[in-house]
């Protein structure tokens, strides 16, 4: 599902959706567009036909978004309109049933949790094979990572996630394959995330032959089989990918006759291409002030900057004898001027983003609650007081000197690490360094390439403080592997040596709760504990910049992991 990603230049960010009726999409325009520069909220009439070119800043590694190595945001965007999904997260970040694929999906039993999907009787792959229970069965088996299920050649499946799928006991078909019954061995609250978002249905009859791990790596007939309004017509490596209407699609046909995804790997080169009329839509990987300035001056071009489902944060490695003390972690948090970071880094792009006070829900989600309970406040005096209580004395040089541990009698010094060459992170580090100096903590900056940071430094815990971004989805369950106790084998993304049995218990309860309100409450309780433990310090949401030509209408940005093409079937030329 690719629910979360440590954000770096080459990773994926969000996910995508799929075909809903034009009318629905048009109605969403007004609701979906909150913006610093304000896209038009009035629906326009569109004409059938035309071509829209969307600039993507990364080429695809392969075409199977369910595969661990291919799970990139750009691929999810490309497959938005070609592979079927059961639920689609809307611009308001709530999942909505895609009735063109399944006419209903409901919990028919809670013990054991049982879901029944009714597949749309008209639903058919573009090669004429009906979309059926066998597709659900194949996708479950491939993503469960259960060793009893094998890919072609007896190789193991390499899925991008097993969350939820590994809790399914059985998937069976009935009613000529049009009814699917999923029975869980353990309740799974985020069941709407299954077969949805960045995890669309693969055509089982194709995947069975060509293979899950390697059959979709190269462009060809297997990749061109579509279950959505569009199908991939051509792909030129490093150049472009072209989608045209799927003539076998059973629902409303896409309005545009062609959607071109143009790979422009350098964000700097996208504004001139827009200005020259070669590109009609952009969504750069990093929203920057120069990029905003470049595109907002282009005539007949709408720009919208929105808070993304992605946030910058600092993690404390509790293997360090000083950071193991919650008083020291709290002192660092109190000494960090998060409002100043927002003012300097984010406010020039949008004023819709402030300091973030929740790690599991973003302010743009309905479940968001300010859970910081005062722990996120900027209070340098309290920070100094806490450091003194932790056993440190202020030295004559303005830095605290620990009375214990390896730095006993020396300037209290910590290092912070992030990915090198990323301006936003560099600014965060420099502001943090100045903030810490003001409370008597010396900070050394030690940065690495993204590959080293996420491949070695983070997983091996070879850091003291680490700063990067998590990309999240509205389905919260995948957060468990970040915040559950590091001693558990399921918590591979807890690089901080953080452990709180109460958090573990609450996660278990939340994950098995099929009551959304109850699960939301439990997740917010977890985040409250993360604040009181000061496990990590969330900083701010990243801004997400969308831009498109006003010659097109019904374009509605979506900050979830379906991306802006979630309703591309409704896009049209005015």
């Amino acid at each position: 599902m690719g629910i979360l990603h440590a954000e770096n230049r080459s990773d994926s960010r969000r996910g995508k959706w799929y075909g809903t009726a034009v009318v629905v999409a048009a109605a969403l325009i007004a609701a979906g567009c909150s913006s610093s520069t304000g896209p038009s909220a009035s629906p326009k009439s569109v004409t059938s036909g035309g071509t829209l070119t969307f600039a993507l800043d990364e080429d695809v590694a392969g075409f199977n978004s369910l595969l661990a190595g291919d799970n990139e945001f750009v691929l999810t965007e490309i497959l938005d309109q070609t592979l079927p999904r059961v639920f689609v997260v809307q611009p308001d970040l709530k999942p909505v049933l895609n009735t063109e694929v399944v006419t209903s999906a409901s919990v028919v039993k809670t013990n054991p949790q049982t879901i029944v999907y009714q597949i749309n009787p008209k639903a058919v792959w573009s090669d004429g094979v009906p979309i059926s229970a066998s597709d659900f069965i194949y996708n479950w088996q491939a993503q469960s990572a259960n060793p009893k299920f094998k890919d072609v050649g007896g190789k193991p499946f390499l899925p991008n996630t097993t969350s939820g799928y590994n809790q399914i006991a059985s998937v069976t078909g009935s009613n000529d394959g049009k009814t699917v019954t999923v029975v869980f061995s353990k309740p799974y609250g985020d069941w709407q995330s299954l077969f949805s978002q960045a995890n669309p249905l693969l055509p089982a009859h194709i995947a069975d032959k060509v293979g899950f791990d390697s059959g979709f790596q190269n462009f060809g007939a297997a990749v061109q089989v579509s279950g959505g309004p569009y199908e991939i017509q051509s792909y030129t490596k490093g150049e472009d990918l072209v989608e045209v209407r799927n003539p076998h699609y059973w629902g409303p046909a896409g309005t545009l006759s062609k959607i071109v995804f143009r790979f422009i790997l350098s964000d700097d080169q996208q504004p001139p291409a827009v200005q020259n009329g070669e590109v009609n839509m952009v969504n750069p990987v990093l929203a920057s002030i120069p990029f905003l300035d470049s595109v907002k001056s282009i005539p007949n071009f709408t720009v919208s900057v929105q808070p993304a489902l992605e946030f910058q944060h600092m993690d404390f490695n509790e293997a360090n004898p000083y950071l193991a003390l919650s008083s020291v972690r709290h002192a660092i948090a109190y000494g960090t001027n998060r409002p100043e970071m927002v003012t300097r880094i984010v406010s020039p792009l949008t004023t819709a983003i402030g300091p973030l006070n929740n790690r599991l829900f973003m302010p743009t989600e309905s479940g968001y609650t300010d859970t910081d309970n005062g722990y996120g406040a900027f209070d340098p005096a309290k920070a100094k007081s806490l450091l003194q209580q932790a056993g440190m004395t202020m030295g004559s040089d303005g830095y605290f000197h620990p009375n214990f541990g390896p730095e006993k009698g020396q300037d209290f010094t910590l290092s912070i690490s992030t990915t090198s060459g990323v301006e936003v992170r560099s600014e965060i580090e420099q502001l943090f360094q100045a903030d810490m100096k003001a409370i008597g903590v010396k900070i050394n900056i030690q940065n690495y390439t993204a590959n080293t940071l996420f491949g070695t430094i983070g997983p091996k815990g070879e850091f003291q403080i680490i700063e990067f971004a998590w990309v999240i989805s509205p389905f919260i369950s995948a957060n468990q592997s970040i915040y559950c106790s590091y001693t558990s084998s399921e918590c591979g993304n807890n690089w901080d040596h953080y452990s709180d049995p109460k958090v573990d218990t609450l996660f278990d309860q939340a994950l098995t709760s099929v009551n959304t309100a109850q699960a939301t409450s439990l997740y917010n309780q977890i985040d409250g504990l993360l604040w009181s433990d000061m496990a990590t310090l969330p900083l701010f949401q990243n801004p997400d910049l969308f831009g498109w030509s006003t010659n097109f209408a019904h374009i509605v940005p979506n900050t979830s992991n379906v991306g802006i093409p979630w309703n591309a079937n409704a896009w049209g030329a005015t």
Partner: protein
């Protein structure tokens, strides 16, 4: 001469394989292709371990190199970490780079030689000062700046003036164009800006070499003798002087051309041409990087180009100067 050629080719092959071993080992040790997977919650540890096994990361490095080498000797460049065959990938990228580099080199040679000769003949005259100034300007301007200037102040304005797009700023072609002539015209329109960019930065250097070589030759005794013999200025210039002044330039052109075959990285990136340079860059920085098989494949092609063009340069010396003999 054939024995000389054979020795050069054999030496080149040995250098390539020694280099490939070193690069293979260093690239493999320089990063973790599973980094992105490890930073993605939801992927099980078993999946990460299986992915590592599929990439042969659990095997000794020397064994992996040997396996790659055996494949190479059987005509296969192997598979990249993303599962695509490296050979066809490189062939496609090489074609893209050739489409960019060959016209740029031809134009650069013509411009470099003409401007260099004129500058030398008109030394310290206004035309020399202008050509020197321009050469330094283009030489010192970063490619991405030059590209942006051409995009903003040439392409956009020209297109606006004519009312439709005749100069493109990204990509090698427009998808969906049909008909051989239309495809050709479209590709030329896409190639204009990157070729002009590459030409301007390349000719600037070569013109300075040509000017210096030409000045050396024009001041040589045999040129003075030729003039004293009453030969026409044109014959002195083109037959006696230019021919000899081309020898050092041939070396520079051959080495630069071979390097460009490895990829004009910045030009490719700013104009979104997916050539050899972009391929290497992606192999070193992409999602599953460093991709040791992709890098090694690139190295063999780029390295072969260096060896071949150096040998060609040696052969051209003989054509330009009959006194040079191979032993």
């Amino acid at each position: 001469m054939w024995a000389y050629l054979l020795r050069r080719v054999l030496a080149g092959i040995i250098v390539l394989f020694v280099l490939s071993f070193g690069v293979f080992i260093l690239v493999a040790l320089s990063g973790n292709p599973l980094a992105a997977l490890q930073a993605t919650p939801g992927i099980s540890r078993a999946t990460i371990a299986a992915a590592g096994a599929q990439l042969h990361l659990n095997e000794p490095l020397v064994d992996r190199y040997w396996g790659w080498l055996v494949g190479l000797l059987h005509g296969s460049f192997g598979y990249s970490y993303t599962g695509q065959p490296v050979g066809p990938q490189i062939a496609q990228r090489l074609l893209v780079t050739v489409k960019l580099v060959v016209p740029a080199v031809i134009l650069s040679v013509l411009l470099g030689v003409i401007v260099g000769v004129i500058s030398a003949v008109r030394q310290y005259k206004p035309v020399d000062h202008v050509s020197t100034g321009l050469a330094y300007l283009f030489f010192s301007t970063p490619v991405f700046v030059l590209a942006l200037l051409l995009k903003d102040f040439l392409a956009v304005d020209v297109n606006r003036a004519v009312g439709h797009t005749i100069l493109f700023t990204v990509g090698e072609s427009t998808p969906g164009i049909t008909g051989a002539w239309n495809v050709f015209v479209d590709e030329v329109q896409h190639a204009v800006l990157p070729v002009v960019t590459l030409t301007l930065v390349t000719y600037a250097t070569w013109s300075r070499f040509q000017r210096a070589a030409m000045l050396d030759v024009l001041n040589a005794d045999y040129i003075r003798l030729a003039r004293a013999k009453g030969l026409s200025p044109r014959r002195v210039l083109f037959v006696h002087a230019l021919r000899n002044a081309l020898i050092p330039v041939v070396t520079v052109v051959a080495i630069d051309f071979a390097a460009l075959i490895g990829g004009a990285l910045v030009t490719e990136i700013v104009f979104s041409w997916d050539g050899m340079g972009q391929y290497l860059y992606n192999a070193l920085t992409g999602a599953e990087s460093p991709d040791v098989y992709a890098v090694s494949g690139w190295l063999m092609v780029a390295g072969t180009a260096v060896v071949v063009f150096n040998i060609l340069a040696d052969l051209v010396y003989g054509l330009l100067d009959p006194r040079i003999r191979y032993a």
